[in-house]
Symmetry: C2
Subunit: 406 residues, 2 copies
């Protein structure tokens, strides 16, 4: 019998009524002949409440105790969903991370799944019992609870699907699939029937909040077929699959943007060997991730202007570090700007088609949108622009790459 993993996020299990609704969806898959494991998140709001408790006790709390506290959110949902399945006449039992066990590396608050021993669970599933599994958590080598970090339930689901050899992993969420662009901005955006792992990975990294980046990586590595679909409406979502499964490849599959950016420019940096290390070394030590980097030689030929982007959450910290290191780096002035956005076009078709970057730059130029920085990968071109132009840029690119719905 085919095994299926279903995953429901916090909004999908946010009320008792919604948990009952989830039970009915699971029942349908059981009746269709699947052996089902369901991975659940905490009821929406619960994790925030628990995190808030921890911060009230002490902002510098122990991560191990943080994990003990927040892991309870998912535990509650597992028990309630198992009960709701019973009420629907479906055999079910809850599995906490330590019961499965889902073994992690014990890095509290951001643990990685090392292995999942599905022996007991698979036997239970084979006997017709739905496994209701707490997402977002596992047990470390020290036998203590460890959580996987925000959004980790997606990763739990994909890892479990891989361990169980499931034919598919359905991620139920509050959107009905992956779109060619954010439908709130581009009314002509279309839902994609299929998307490749690589494209999904770029979209997730670029801030599309549909799937957590790590879960996509894991799906790609283990070739787990993932479907993103809505828990509220009843229709197929978007399949995330291997490139070979997609017959008709588009050059560009989607246009996305991320407001989670900030730009820093160091003016008149001495152009000497080791200066890049002097700048980016201290930033890396402070945990600041640098994304795009542009270097211009200043007019005198002995200095350079250096622009780079970082995540907005790291903004204050980065300014601090650079101010402190000003003397050792040796720059004249620092400019900084949070009012920027990164717009990207993504598509595996780019590998075989040239001219995507050129068409992108041309489209933006026609709208008088100034490009402040550029970064590319094999299947992606990203540009940094002023935040005011976000909607205009995304809509224009969506049209220019023939993505608009007919």
């Amino acid at each position: 019998m085919a095994r299926l993993v279903m995953k429901f996020g916090g909004t999908s299990v946010g009320t008792i009524e919604r948990i009952k609704n989830v039970a009915r969806k699971v029942k349908r898959e059981v009746e269709a002949g699947n052996e089902v494991a369901v991975v659940v998140s905490a009821m929406s709001g619960e994790t925030n409440k628990l995190v808030d408790f921890c911060n009230q006790i002490s902002p510098l709390h122990d991560q191990r105790e943080y994990d003990a506290v927040v892991a309870t959110g998912e535990q509650v949902t597992t028990g309630l969903l198992a009960m709701a399945l019973h009420a629907e006449g479906v055999k079910a039992r809850s599995w906490q991370g330590w019961q499965v066990p889902i073994n992690t590396d014990g890095a509290h608050g951001k643990a990685r799944i090392m292995s999942i021993d599905t022996t007991a669970m698979a036997a239970d599933m084979a006997a017709g019992t739905v496994a209701v599994v707490a997402g977002f958590q596992g047990v470390g080598p020290n036998r203590r609870l460890s959580t996987l970090g925000r959004g980790g339930s997606d990763t739990s689901a994909v890892a479990l699907a891989a361990a169980l050899g499931a034919r598919q992993c359905d991620i139920y969420t509050d959107v009905d699939g992956v779109y060619t662009a954010d439908p709130r901005i581009v009314t002509a955006a279309r839902k994609l029937d299929k998307i490749t792992y690589e494209e999904m990975l770029e979209l997730a990294s670029l801030g599309a909040k549909v799937l957590q980046t790590r879960s996509v990586e894991m799906a790609m590595n283990h070739r787990v077929r993932v479907q993103v679909l809505s828990s509220l409406v009843d229709k197929p979502g978007t399949m995330v699959v291997d490139e070979e499964e997609i017959v008709e490849k588009q050059i560009v599959s989607g246009v996305t943007y991320s407001s989670d950016e900030a730009k820093i420019t160091l003016l008149r940096v001495a152009d000497r060997p080791g200066v890049a290390a002097a700048i980016f070394g201290p930033l890396a030590e402070a945990g600041v991730n640098v994304d795009m980097i542009i270097q211009n030689i200043a007019e005198d030929g002995r200095h350079t202007d250096l622009t780079f982007t970082i995540g907005r959450a790291d903004y204050e910290r980065a300014l601090d570090v650079l101010t402190r290191e000003k003397a050792s780096i040796g720059f004249e002035k620092m400019l900084h700007d949070k009012n920027v956005v990164k717009v990207s076009v993504v598509g595996v078709g780019m590998r075989s088609h040239t001219g995507v970057a050129r068409r992108m730059f041309q489209t933006l130029a026609e709208k008088n949108i100034n490009i402040q920085a550029i970064t590319t990968s094999e299947i992606k071109v990203s540009v940094l622009i002023g935040a005011d132009y976000t909607e205009l840029a995304v809509r224009s690119l969506h049209s220019a790459f023939d993505l608009d719905a007919a």
Copy 2:
């Protein structure tokens, strides 16, 4: 070094501020040179919220899943208290029931503790780390969470104190000790410095909500010195100890009452062999506990009137059963009354002093209070009276047995 178990109930850990207050109390005991294990309940209101969730899913939910859900309440408190201790500079870690492990018989919702393996915890405590233990729960033979039933955290604390060979088990609660009578009714009530296990057991069974009955039984069996004290004020409470520790024994240690009673009278029951079995058999099968029983022979000598008391929670069920069995029992009429209360005087001194019952009846007679039923044990006399007389009876008895504060 001496080991100490401290237990804090839901009210004592009901807010973040109170959890911080508990941490300061624990710190003081650590600084006084104790190896400390702290047993905690769920924050007040949390367990009710979780139980309510379960009932909303299905009133007939699976007890195993109920346990998985409600056990999270204590888990949250353990993590938060451990963090609060860290903030006070005290080493601490949380222990869930399955981590200790606290092994139960797996009777979900009302499990009994079978054994506690304190090896790992004791080693940790010896290294100077406070153990913060989730009360009310353990792990069953099936590796699933099982809860001990309401108030089970007291039992967890006493069992842990026994397993650790602790010198004392301090139960912190919202009252500052055991009183000679309910201070809300008897203003002259005095806090007892010491009380025997036997007396405490009677008081707990009679509805004094200070300690859970099972925890007192366990303390008595394992000779664990238990102190009941307030988490809000800073003074000694009442020690529950062996009879030998109490030098000056009082004849009566306390007067208590329970409103959790109901009375049923069956009129003109045929006075034949087997009639008691016909009445009490079906009640026992329905899970109805019968307390006091009185039988009067009716005037004709061939019938009898039978009065008995039951817990008020079983009232409707008992009436149902008796109505259904009316023909097979063969009574003429059923009277029933919830407007009754059981008043008891308790004291180990009764064993060596006669006349307690007589003085009790006389006192009530002087106040024109009619006694509807009587039951006695070696250290207790209980009477059933009309609920309207509760305060009058308790106050009069408190005076009559010389318990009033000077």
